[in-house]
Symmetry: C2
Subunit: 228 residues, 2 copies
């Protein structure tokens, strides 16, 4: 391995994220608990999110708009203004959540800084991800942040071109096999998977990955052993 650039996924790799979304969805489910089961409500939101991905992309604003649509469908448009405002507020609260670092992230970045060009490569809302990187206090470890509209092979291909780097010199580290690992391996890059205790339904895959350029670890500090 002759890695030159290491890209870290952000949400649930550097800092906690999915539990905030779960909490937000719980609030939505509470508002509509008389309409359907929690499982049905979560499916409904997901359906609208996936349907809207091609135009909205990822992130909290898209999530908010999809919750609104789910609520309108669920109530057969008998939604009152106060409830709509509460849905908007669920989204705004997500955008104002504190950034809580995952354990040992800072120690690992300290050890890697100067030895590699470190970047953040994430999906989500542009403004929100910039805000979180700022609030995390991790900004000075990274050369820059790449907010990607998606994490398909094509998106990584564009990013690698922009970074002017060959795939074999690039390492992606993240918690999503689907978004952080598979497309990078397919391009000839390296990838490390660090699982997070909960995964968004949309990011789940149901097969195992075996590849010479792939490593799975349990904790972020194990990547130091891989890179030495």
């Amino acid at each position: 391995m002759n890695i030159q650039i290491i890209a870290f996924d952000a949400d649930d790799t550097l800092w906690h994220n999915e539990p905030y979304f779960d909490e937000a969805q719980d609030r939505f489910c509470e508002l509509f608990q008389n309409y359907a089961s929690k499982q049905e409500l979560l499916s409904l939101i997901l359906n609208h999110q996936v349907k809207n991905l091609p135009i909205y992309g990822f992130g909290i604003k898209a999530f908010t708009l999809s919750m609104m649509e789910a609520a309108l469908q669920l109530t057969n448009h008998q939604l009152n203004g106060k409830t709509m405002e509460l849905i908007i507020q669920i989204g705004k609260d997500l955008l104002l959540k504190p950034v809580e670092l995952l354990p040992e992230v800072e120690e690992v970045l300290t050890a890697l800084k100067g030895k590699y060009k470190l970047i953040v490569a994430t999906k989500g809302d542009l403004k929100d991800q910039h805000r979180k990187l700022h609030d995390s206090g991790l900004g000075h470890y990274f050369h820059h942040i790449e907010v990607m509209s998606d994490k398909t092979e094509m998106d990584y291909e564009k990013m690698l071109k922009r970074l002017d780097i060959q795939p074999q010199d690039f390492l992606m580290i993240g918690n999503s096999l689907k978004s952080d690992v598979l497309p990078v391996l397919n391009l000839g890059g390296h990838a490390v998977h660090i699982p997070y205790h909960t995964t968004w339904e949309y990011e789940k895959i149901d097969f195992e990955i075996q590849h010479t350029n792939f490593k799975a670890v349990e904790h972020i500090n194990e990547i130091l052993n891989l890179l030495v």
Copy 2:
């Protein structure tokens, strides 16, 4: 001038945009014409947009959410579900608009390609701006697109660092004096202003710019004379 990178603003510089927003706002005003004058309705939307900028940033999803808030305020939350859906649809229609190039954009890009590194530097929704660049058919002229969370001096500073270029070797071309010209001049870069026939209220400034690194032109093809 020893320009190495030329960055083009996208909306209302490469392709039409503001008229689509005007049309969207007209549709909103029609929905609520019994509540307030058009001028009052437009102000109300703008107020919510500006208030939400720090968390939502720019773009159509933010615009949609701000229209929804404006409608809730206007009706004192007596908003029915069908109208809410229409507001969401106004936003979605904007995200599906065809991309109409401005005159002579393609000729100018053809003349500059190969002589400079050309990029797109724009605000707005990440997904939407990537979509528009793709649909415009202009993608192959540009090294890449930078979707910026805002266009302040700090945002340009970060971008120039990422591009690994000195400000004096950088030229920004766009229709907004506030976003495309002033911050770039303040950093020591070059800027060319090409006015568009209509400007979003938020982008207006009320003074004239005189600066050795600044040129104002009427049409995009005039930049070829400046660069030869």
